[in-house]
Amino acid sequence: MNKENIKMMDIKNIVLRFGGVVAIQNISFDIFKGEIRAIIGPNGAGKSSMLNVINGFYHPQEGEVWFRGKKRGSMKPYQIAHQGIARTFQNIALFKGMTALDNIMTGRFTHMKKGIFSQMIWEGGASREEYENREVVEKVIDFLEIQHIRKTPVGALPYGLQKRVELGRALAAEPELLLLDEPMAGMNVEEKEDMSRYILDVNSEFETTVALIEHDMGVVMDISDRVVVMDYGKKIGDGTPDEVRNNQAVIDAYLGVSEH
């Protein structure tokens, strides 16, 4: 793969506190354009908090987030979404009563320019806009092979498919940076294989940069280009899967250290 090592995102000295609890302690790392970047670590290491910082849901007390070469000021999550960052959640956050198609359509909101009134009367270009958006959504549905559940309410779907719909919603936004929070949690081996395939395909087909949190080490080592390892809010490792695998601090964090 031709990763030109252009920094898409640069995270510098982030510190995040909740009252007295320090969730993230002075972490810096970068994400290159077009790579798959994994964030791993034991439970409570601050991985999800890190993702929330990246997509602007949490505001760190200290540190800077640089995106596409510019320092990002304080922004609302929807403003960040407009910048081309989309995400999925650890505990699926879909509209249960809506169909898979409608859920994925909501991912297009950043691309809808017409006002509510013209959308209501289906005039003034609103219909054309809807057709264009639907076309993108249909391509996503085709990509994720979920044609058969297009019209099924999401609440009635099995877990693995809900995860796929959620990925679809993120993809519908045509993001430059895709954040995935445990995309394979609770899946069986075959579902994990499918999901890995989709993530790799998204990366190569749309040249989307992916940052993901995952617990399944096998998957992480197989699909990611570089890995950040966190433990108790600190960064304890950073590098290619091979480097990380041989890093003593990482081994200790995962396997525990015996008392000498």
Partner: protein, 682 residues
């Protein structure tokens, strides 16, 4: 058994008269189609591109919308692709594998391959990589045209074993962007003529090749699903495909306003014969669903007028209707039950134009408005003029259910070796237990051992690279042995199939053992997905049962039975009770049959896993491989006979990605001694 040739011949003569008149009528309407004397499918496509020009030829649902291509578009594409194939160095007589689900571009690839004198060889797309080695290396394929990344990956995985395969061409580029392989190209690139230098050279070459093709040119190589061991490559000539297609068209008066939905594996002869043999020749519209899972919705939108489904398809359709009705409100349910009883009484008679009283006709008409019409619409069968089922016996209740709704569902009997058509049921002469009369040009006879033989213009050229098997199956006069035991029903003159000839055996005491017949009776129960009967050379019969997870799962839900897995549900005592009840009923009906009363099942078990094509236990067309099953589960069969009450077993399973694992289970064996004896006494 049947023993009266004269009677049969007169019947045949009578039915032949009917064809001749039908043929003449059709000749007036579509005479030009049947008398064109075109020798190849590409030539027929060319004719269609002139005759039907802008009429839709193919449809496929993509991105949520039905995309259409006219005959002109298709012709153009095939022509361009042919030039591309020549430019890649495909020679006459080379084999080109086609792997993927039913997609228009893959059908066109078949025609393009024929166009350049190559022999298309469609393979089952859900086969694991290892299974593909045999057919690809057996026919020394030079090229594979595949649907997507999944298939490309499989071919790359086994590339050491198929080193003759030079080019892989893919249809769907998804995920293949970063594959750096010289021999990999996209179908789109291959079929765009602007990318070719020297186009005139290829055009003259193509013309030269086309001129050489005639009726005896090999049209296609199809690998049988291999019910009895290793699959065989059946070579069909243009004559086989075109003549049998014509016979099918004449038999059911098919014209260019028909539509057909293709969803069965492309490697299966039926799909090829219907879509290409019938489809191209009649000029009907060939539709491909969006994905296998969306078939029912897509069918509803298309409303195919010619439809083929294996019995299993209709079974699952009926099961889903019944499940939905069970969940409906009491008013709807009452309405449904009332009108279904009306349909049961009158539906088939009305379909066959028999006399029905005015009151009943009004009732049926009302039913059509309230129940049958909407139901047919739901199932996508409202426009169906001709529906066929074949491959296995269909349950009489299922068959009658669809016919009573006014759907002209019929049975046919066919084989890969015959390019499908051997016998079909003519309209208004439909009996659930027979498979009809021979279609035009087919001669039938029953051998002394009771095996069905036929001779037809559709009967195959040879088994590829297998002259000894060819000789065994097809004799010098052209009679092909079907391997099925059957007889001509004296009353109707229709062919009746009992079982595979080699499966028919004898029990120890010398009475007839016909496993399939009994298994089919069991499979007519929605709860039973598959059954395998053993007993040849033994004192009594035993059975292994596979439950149907959808039907039994639903039943479990209603009865508050919780289960975590297929295995747990299969071993549940209540499930055993239910299955035992079904077997008792089958035993009872067998006890009335003087030939087969000893085929009653004395002991059975419910298998802990579904029989799966990935494990080789059933074929991709879902037929049980009897020998393999009896070898694999020999411990269970032994336990079925040695009187044990329970057996512990370990079974190897293959996952979808080809990895293997093991599952273990303790399986209960139940005995039906009590009723068995009672029935015997009665």
């Amino acid at each position: 058994m049947y023993n009266g040739k004269v009677n049969y011949k007169t019947k045949l003569a009578k039915s032949n008269l009917k064809y001749i008149s039908a043929y003449l009528r059709l000749k007036v309407k579509w005479g030009h189609l049947l008398t064109d004397n075109l020798n190849t499918l590409p030539a027929i496509l060319k004719r269609n591109s002139i005759k039907f020009a802008e009429k839709p030829a193919f449809r496929e649902k993509e991105f949520g919308i039905w995309q259409s291509w006219s005959w002109k578009d298709v012709y153009e594409f095939v022509n361009n692709l042919s030039l591309g194939l020549i430019s890649l160095g495909i020679k006459e007589g080379d084999h080109i594998c086609i792997i993927g689900r039913n997609r228009p571009h893959l059908y066109w690839s078949i025609i393009a391959a024929q166009n350049v004198g190559a022999i298309p060889t469609p393979l089952y797309q859900d086969a694991v990589a290892q299974e593909m080695i045999f057919p690809i290396s057996h026919c020394s394929a030079k090229m594979a045209i595949v649907e997507n990344q999944e298939q490309v990956d499989k071919l790359i995985e086994i590339k050491k074993d198929i080193h003759l395969l030079k080019n892989i061409i893919y249809l769907d580029p998804r995920g293949l962007r970063n594959y750096k392989k010289n021999n990999l190209s996209s179908l789109n690139d291959i079929s765009s003529p602007d990318k070719l230098n020297n186009i005139t050279k290829f055009q003259t070459e193509l013309k030269k090749r086309q001129a050489k093709q005639n009726l005896d040119t090999k049209s296609i190589l199809l690998y049988t699903s291999g019910t009895t061991g290793r699959s065989k490559g059946v070579v069909l000539s243009n004559k086989n495909v075109i003549e049998s297609g014509k016979a099918g068209i004449v038999f059911d008066k098919i014209d260019s306003n028909f539509s057909l939905i293709c969803y069965l594996p492309m490697a299966w002869v039926g799909d090829f014969a219907f879509s290409m043999g019938l489809g191209l020749q009649s000029g009907m519209c060939i539709c491909c669903p969006e994905s296998a899972e969306t078939l029912h919705d897509d069918m509803r939108e298309i409303g195919p007028s010619y439809f083929f489904g294996p019995p299993r398809f209709f079974e699952s359709l009926l099961t889903s209707v019944n499940l939905k009705i069970d969940d409906a409100g009491s008013f709807k349910r009452a309405l449904f039950n009332y009108f279904m009883s009306v349909a049961k009484e009158n539906g088939e008679k009305i379909l066959e134009n028999k006399s029905v009283g005015i009151i009943n006709r009004i009732k049926y008409f009302m039913g059509e408005i309230f129940i049958y019409g909407p139901l047919k619409n739901r199932m996508g069968l409202s426009k169906t003029k001709v529906g066929y089922t074949a491959g296995e016996a269909i349950g009489p209740e299922i068959f009658q259910f669809f016919r009573s709704l006014g759907i002209n569902l019929k049975q046919l009997y066919g084989q890969t070796e015959a390019c499908v058509f051997v016998t079909c049921q003519p309209d208004k002469q439909v009996h659930p237990e027979t498979v009809g009369v021979p279609v035009k040009g087919v001669e039938l006879k029953i051998s002394n051992s009771g095996e069905v033989l036929y001779r037809s213009p559709g009967s195959f050229v040879e088994y590829f690279k297998d002259p000894s098997n060819t000789k065994k199956t097809k004799d010098r006069e052209g009679w092909v042995a079907t391997g099925d035991a059957g007889f001509i029903d004296e009353e109707t003159g229709h062919l009746k199939i009992i079982d595979r000839a080699k499966d028919v055996g004898k029990l120890k005491q010398g009475s007839l053992f016909a496993p399939k017949y009994v298994e089919n009776k069991l499979k007519f129960y929605p709860n039973i997905l598959e059954a395998v009967l053993f007993g040849s050379g033994k004192e009594y019969c035993v059975a292994m049962i596979n439950i149907d997870l959808t039907a039994v799962g639903n039943w479990a839900e209603k009865n508050n039975i919780s289960y975590a897995s297929y295995q747990e549900l299969a071993g549940h005592p209540d499930v055993y009770k239910m299955v035992a009840e079904h077997i008792r009923e089958v035993n009872l009906s067998l006890s009335n049959d003087k030939n087969l009363s000893n085929c009653q099942i004395r002991r059975f078990l419910v298998l802990h896993k579904e029989l799966d094509p990935d494990d080789g236990e059933i074929t991709r067309t879902r037929k049980v491989r009897r020998n393999l099953v009896s070898d694999k589960y020999s411990d269970l069969i032994k336990a079925l006979y040695d009187g044990s009450k329970e057996i512990y077993t370990e079974t190897e399973v293959t996952y979808e990605d080809g990895r293997k694992g093991k599952i273990s289970a303790s399986i209960v064996i139940q005995e039906l001694e009590e009723t068995f004896k009672k029935v015997e006494a009665a």
